[in-house]
Amino acid sequence: MTRPPADIAVVAFAQTPCRPRTGDVSEAEMLLPALRAVLDATGLRTGDLGFVCSGSSDYLAGRAFSFTLTLDAVGAWPPVPESHVEMDGAWALYEAWVRLLTGEADTALVHAHGMSSAGTVRDVLSRTLDPYTLAPLWPDAVALAALQAQALIDAGRTDEKDLAAVAHRNRTAAASNPHAQLRGPRPQGDYVVQPLRTGDCPPVGDGAAAVVLATGDTARRLCDHPAWIRGIDHRIEPHAPGLRDLTASPSTRLAAENAGAFDAPVDLAELHAPFTAQEVVLRTALDLGDDVTVNPSGGALAANPLMATGLIRIGEAAARIHRGEAHRALAHATSGPCLQHNLVAVLEGDRP
């Protein structure tokens, strides 16, 4: 049972511009403007919050317990009910959503940040792999995505021209997104790992995002057009890419079914597909036809601050509902090699 019996909405969303190299700010300093923006938008102070939950990764920062420093930016005094997932902030939002469902809180602050430029992120991500048979080979993130892309090409599901079109469409959409890192189309460039070219890969960038969730009447008080979470679910698959059919994403499908994604058509979808070929896999898993606007923000191909990218998908979908540009939207987040772990949220505005 993953449909909420209670009304819980995204009532505010903010993100920092995603930049190729932040360089001058600490993680707390990077996060602070996003936190201030959602608190100011809702008029909440830290002390009003029923729950705080964040997502980040020590391996991106290169420091153990790195998340403890971002608590400075929250201003957690008096002490706050708080938790942290060493995952993308989309899962922090999931934990906060569960907390609100229990009735123990009626507001929650969710935040996430990623300073992806601090390390060589292609190599850092290889440390997520099975440490016995995969990680010792140092297969980087692009290599694994390229294996998945070639499997799709072999299956006749896409080709390099299609993939270039995915890249072009996402980055064209990003031209109107002031927070995106690549705002406008880029040349596909050379192969990074064939069949993926530079244009098929996400930029490396730093950024942070924050969301406020609220229940029922509190949500209506804090936001003119709350983006109600009609369903949210996440599922994982076996770890090793060699154990899976890389052309399909059964975990995305299952999460979407449990979130009620197929109960009614969606107007738009924000997909966490850092590599072009992954959008092809996700569109199939989610039955997204040409009538659905996919990644009006430009998606992860335009800005990919790791550990915040998934939360930003939920935030972007919600922000369009807040602005009245969409009524029903799907947001997706992913984790792990070749889309191993996937989260789907379905958001709706009130009927006018």
Partner: protein
Amino acid sequence: MQADPAPGSLTAPLTLSFPFTRSLGPVLGTFLTGLRERVVLGIRTPAGRVLVPPTEYDPATGAGLGETGAFVEVAPTGTVTTWAWNPAPRPGQPLAHPFAWVLVRLDGADTALLHALDAPGPHAVRTGQRVRIRWAAERTGAITDIACFIPDPAPAAPPRPAAPHPGTFPDPVTTLTAPARLDYTHTPGRAQSRHLTALARHELTGERCPACAKVLVPPRGACPTCGVATTDVVPVGPRGTVTTFCIVNIKAKDLAIDVPYVYAHILLDGADLPLHGRIDGIPHDQVRMGLRVEAVWTPGTRHPAHYRPTGEPDAPYTAYEEHL
């Protein structure tokens, strides 16, 4: 929401390098011992699937395969199920020259193993290609005992079921040493950069919170109780009061200080937050709470080398009680 990088913001390289010691347990240990002996073992699940590499637990059901599964030997030859040409190998990858990443379903296996294929170029690689293992000359019981795959000109043999294998070898491998090195650029941030730049001039500074007016040392960019940026730089110290301390009797690695020594929390004059430092210039057993001290630098160092007594009368307990 952010200004351009401020002049003077500091960055520094940060290398994390460590040889992890991995105990393998029965299934992985058997698989890797097999590789050392040029034998590729898979494990058969209760449903009959042969997993190569073997997993300890059935990904489909969660069943423990070490208990219910059975080792089988598969061939050193197989078929490429997907591939990706890597024109610029990265540190630690199986080959130093351009190669293809491949998933290979070994003959007798139902799943694919990730490795490298040594081929002259992407034109010489395709899905469905027959390949075989090139063994490493020196094998230790690791996935890298497979040096790589190479194209196999022989036609595929007729399929035959994988042969049962007892999974026992003399001198089995039980651990794996896995070195890992990652390089980062560390960014302490604007507030810390201001503090560190002043420290290099042997000046101690804090930053004042615009909301609560407390002076934070060292500043970390945000007032931790108010959640707002600090910007107002305030000189503090160089004198201060020991609030509490411990006497360290255990020699820390990489630290050229003789034990015992005193590690103290020091509330610098003008600061609202104690920082940490070593006390010297006084016998360790005479250090006390309330002792008045001052920072001492050695030439060329950024941080104070230690703090020494000023000779002032001790501060009364009430002066620092709220900082304990």
